[in-house]
């Protein structure tokens, strides 16, 4: 099995192969490598920034509540506390809604510039799913055309064993093959229009 380059330092990526979450995250990272380094696309961070904002706001409110309660001890801090605790859990609700409905398992978004420079960028979204204690890794690649807004997607569902060797090393070249195939098929379908 070929040990291929991965990661910024060029070292092969190794995971504890029995840790499902670590494996899924490592595979997601490998796909991100393909989408941003192998393919000439730039990563779009808006989705991630949204989540960072919600979390940051929640932590900020909590810190403020703590500081206020420290300076003005209970029960003087009661009204501020009610606002902050309420606000915090409201934001937690927003976060859950955001992860469930907006993020939907998408872990990387990249923008493809129109070669003629005329049309708005097309967007590629890759989402993944893996059930707990299951080895089936399901990936959906979606292409949203910049001009028409139409979206087309393709997916695969394979065992993680297809992408990792016995030592837990991620086989970047196998991932690359798989993603490039999906990329070509979606690009070709776009051209056929």
């Amino acid at each position: 099995m070929s040990k291929s380059k991965n990661g910024d330092s060029g070292e092969p990526v190794k995971v504890f192969k029995w840790d499902g979450v670590a494996v899924k995250n490592a595979l997601d990272d490998a796909i991100r490598e393909v989408m941003t380094k192998k393919l000439p696309y730039t990563e779009n961070f808006n989705l991630m920034d949204g989540r960072l904002l919600i979390c940051g706001l929640a932590v900020g409110i909590a810190m403020f509540a703590l500081a206020w309660d420290f300076i003005y001890p209970f029960p003087k801090s009661k009204p501020i506390l009610i606002g902050c605790v309420g606000g915090y859990f409201f934001l937690m609700g927003i976060l859950t809604l955001y992860t469930t409905f907006k993020e939907k398992g998408i872990f990387v978004v990249v923008m493809q510039k129109d070669p003629a420079g005329l049309d708005p960028d097309s967007r590629w979204e890759v989402a993944s799913k893996m059930k707990k204690f299951d080895d089936m890794y399901e990936v959906t690649v979606r292409l949203i055309d910049g001009k028409s807004g139409a979206s087309r997607e393709t997916d695969f569902k394979r065992s993680v064993a297809d992408f990792i060797d016995e030592n837990g090393v991620i086989c970047q070249d196998i991932i690359e093959n798989q993603i490039m195939k999906m990329h070509s098929s979606l690009t070709a379908a776009k051209k056929d229009k």
Binding site: G7, D8, V13, K14, V15, F16, V21, A22, K24, N25, A26, D28, D29, F45, M48, D49, R51, L52, C55, G56, A58, V59, A62, M63, A65, L66, D69, P73, F74, P75, K78, L81, I82, C84, V85, Y88, F89, M92, F107, M130, G168
Partner: protein
Amino acid sequence: MESFKALARMNPRQLAQQILNVFMVVTSAVMLWKGLGLVTNTESPIVVVLSGSMEPAFFRGDILFLNNPATDPITTGDIVVFKIKGQDIPIVHRVVRAHTKGSDETQSVLTKGDNNKVDDRGLYPRGQLWISRKEILGKVIGLVPWAGFMTIAMNDYPSLKVALVGILGLIALVSREDE
């Protein structure tokens, strides 16, 4: 360990998300605690018994649940939690005498631990013979025996506290949620 290497491989945003995740574990716990305090109207809704002054009702390491409804008068026989001016640690003792005076119903209360030979006047600040309603944080409304043993251990051996927080922090930092 691979988990730490995974941290090093993250881009700044992923790292920021990890750090926020650690914070959110802490802030969620703190907000739940403050929320509980709001519901029970007391600054510490759950306390651990630190001394044996209330035996055989309470033993060291028991967990007590407090409530502090604003309109509930303190009556003799109630077990209350109070803080003396200038002291940080709350005391859980029984009310042995309670007087209500005046049109605004100011209460003066004398407390004593069941297992103590004398009342608490020795604990009150010099010249103070009674404690007021304001110094009382709440009444005991529930008990879980033994469950507070961790707090006792961490009080007696403070390095345990540091070790526990350190370990929990590291675990939270390297565990990645399903992204």
